[in-house]
Amino acid sequence: MESLGVHIPPQSVAIIALVAVLYIVVITAFGGYFARFNSTINDFFYSGNRFAWWLPTASMVATGIGSYSFLKYSEQGYRTGMSSSLTYMNDWFIVPFFIFGWLPIVYFSRVKSIPEYFEKRFNKLARYISMVIILAYMFFYIGYNLYTIGVAFEGMFGVPQKYSVPLVALFLGVYVTFGGQTAVIFTDLFQGIMLYLAGGIAIIAGLSVLGGLGEFWSWLPVSHRLPFVHLTDNPKFNTAGLFWGEALAGSIAYTFMNQGFIMRYLTIKSVNECRKAAFFNILVTLPLSAIVVGGVGWIAKALITKQAALGGPLPGIGMIEITNTFHTFIIVCWETVKHNPWIFGFVVAALMAALMSTIDTFINACAAIGIYDLYKPLVNPHASDEHYLKAARWASAIATVIGLFLVVLFHGQKQSLMSLHYKGIMIIIPSIVTTIFLGAFWSRFNSVAACTSMIVGSLVTVFTVYFPDMIAPLSKFVGGPVNGEYIYMRALFGMVLTGTIGVIVTLFTSPAPKKKVKGLTIDTLKEAIIKYKGGEPHFEVGEKLRRLNVKINNKLDIDQVAVSSANMDRLKAQEGDMIYVEDSRWWLGGLRSHHVKVVEDKSLSDGDVSMSDSTFKEAYLLEGRPVTLEKIF
């Protein structure tokens, strides 16, 4: 088959397909195992808010890398060089807003979905407008990922998309439907490792063909070594556009309104741990991911430059010719692994991992919105937890099927995958991103303004697709390109328009009562914390108590633990403070853990902690296993 620019012999195709299918089966079984950790709806979607920071962070690696990422960023890396990493390394500017604003607001207000926040902060109408926009964003990603893997499969194995896409969706649907968020997190952790391994293999194979890192760097043209592109020259990839469209709008969308990511943060045991996750994600995993997904493109450029200078192929591999840059990853990888079908099969499995790990997050997130924003408030508000757990599984299955149907829409498109992706995202996100921002950081912003700005902002942003010249003055104002395409500048236009409407309408209407915004804006966070804890917070940081033995005491209330007086001092806790209890084995990442309230028991020894049988079971603790205690606040 040569539609992806490589000729793979039939016997190699069989081996590659075998590795890929085996991978899918193993992942489905692995994900399905975690169904046992879902006894409530909160477990299914939020894993009981129990994990250590590193577990969801590691799993976010795989979520952030889609099946399109390897293909798209290798293409970009080949065309413009290391500047392809910019979209992964420009998120820091929004971090203060996130870690001190949006994250604690969402965490402490205990909202289950972004639309639910909109209802609490504004009104029902705002909730459903935001829900439509957020679902459009997430289904876009599901459909787009399924479509790209279909394209890759068709190209490599000749399997038509109408067979490959439903098959992949079926396996995915099974483990997300039964395993829920816990399955998503653990499979994504595994798949993140796979992605880094496979990307690493592809890069090391390329470097070894080139003769090492030094050779790679010296054969890479200066323009391709730079981490930035020209400010305005390239209509589709320029620094000015990337700053406004990607670093601001795109990053805010991915961090603030992406229900999948927000749900990951809500699985973490405390806001402090969430902040660790955000820092590690932006400072370590995103730059690493930029190398993993774009590295093959950079190597491709160095290989072709060296090949041209030497006048023929490099020793040990065939001549590399890239006529369609979208095929860069597949062509270079197949050549540099020297046509080894087992290694190449592993790399293809990584593409599968990238697809599955992105879509599973979105399916779970769509299902959460389906349950918390549609089914529970509108259809069946007073059902049992067991009923909602069943409904959540149905919602996951339905979300998978809808995503599958969306592939048909992408199928008819003639544009490149990259322009399809950014065009879609930059149209959907501006209005909602701006409304979230105004809602969280400006108490005066009211519901009339929120609804008006979301509707008008979205509609006018869609108009700019047909009348792009509307964006030209704004682009010129910020020193951006004036090129008629405005892929990224469209997002800035949408944000400025939505923001302007929001501000004007707010200033000419009455703000919501202070009672309504309490705990839902940055300046009322303390109220949110008091409500979350159920009392005045104590921020003094205590010691972690490790390896305590559990004594069962059924006189204690559910979700309550007792410790000795000395341990109360070491924890720097007062009676009623929120404590996190977990199995002492750190590598479980909090899989067996629970949030409880602490009380003092002077009769207890310093090596013990007591709790009721119900609390013990709710924390999934195991008999004979010591536990660790930590004060939250």
């Binding site: 203060p96 001190f100 054969w219 020209h230 620094t239 670093a247 200078a309 020193g479 303390k526």
Partner: protein, 110 residues
């Protein structure tokens, strides 16, 4: 909608900040292009980190002013320091990267 009348006037300070920001957004890229050669990678670097810093510092000030971050409370000081160190780390990394790209020899000719 259960809303009450709000009599607060539009704060002059907010209007001045918006005006200052608009002037900065307009003049900053033109200033860069005036002082640097348009194809210099430093133009893109300063554009990103210049505008980025304004946005970043606005977020920090907002967190401090609203009491979302109170230095000395819990681990707030740690995270505040981390924010600035993270910014410096990324800005230094990109600056060093550009320097290395421009100064290392290229084997493929001019």
């Amino acid at each position: 909608m259960n809303q009450v009348r709000h009599q607060k006037p539009i704060p002059l300070k907010a209007l001045l900040i918006i005006l200052f920001l608009l002037l900065f957004i307009y003049f900053y890229p033109r200033f860069l292009l005036h002082f640097f050669e348009p194809h210099s990678p430093w133009v893109s670097y300063l554009y990103l980190y210049g505008f980025g810093f304004v946005f970043f510092i606005f977020g920090v000030i907002l967190a401090l002013k609203t009491g979302a971050c109170v230095p000395g409370r819990g681990r707030d000081s740690f995270w505040l320091k981390g924010l600035f160190l993270g910014f410096i780390f990324l800005a230094s990394l990109h600056a060093f990267w550009i320097y290395l790209a421009l100064t290392s020899p290229f084997k493929g000719g001019s």
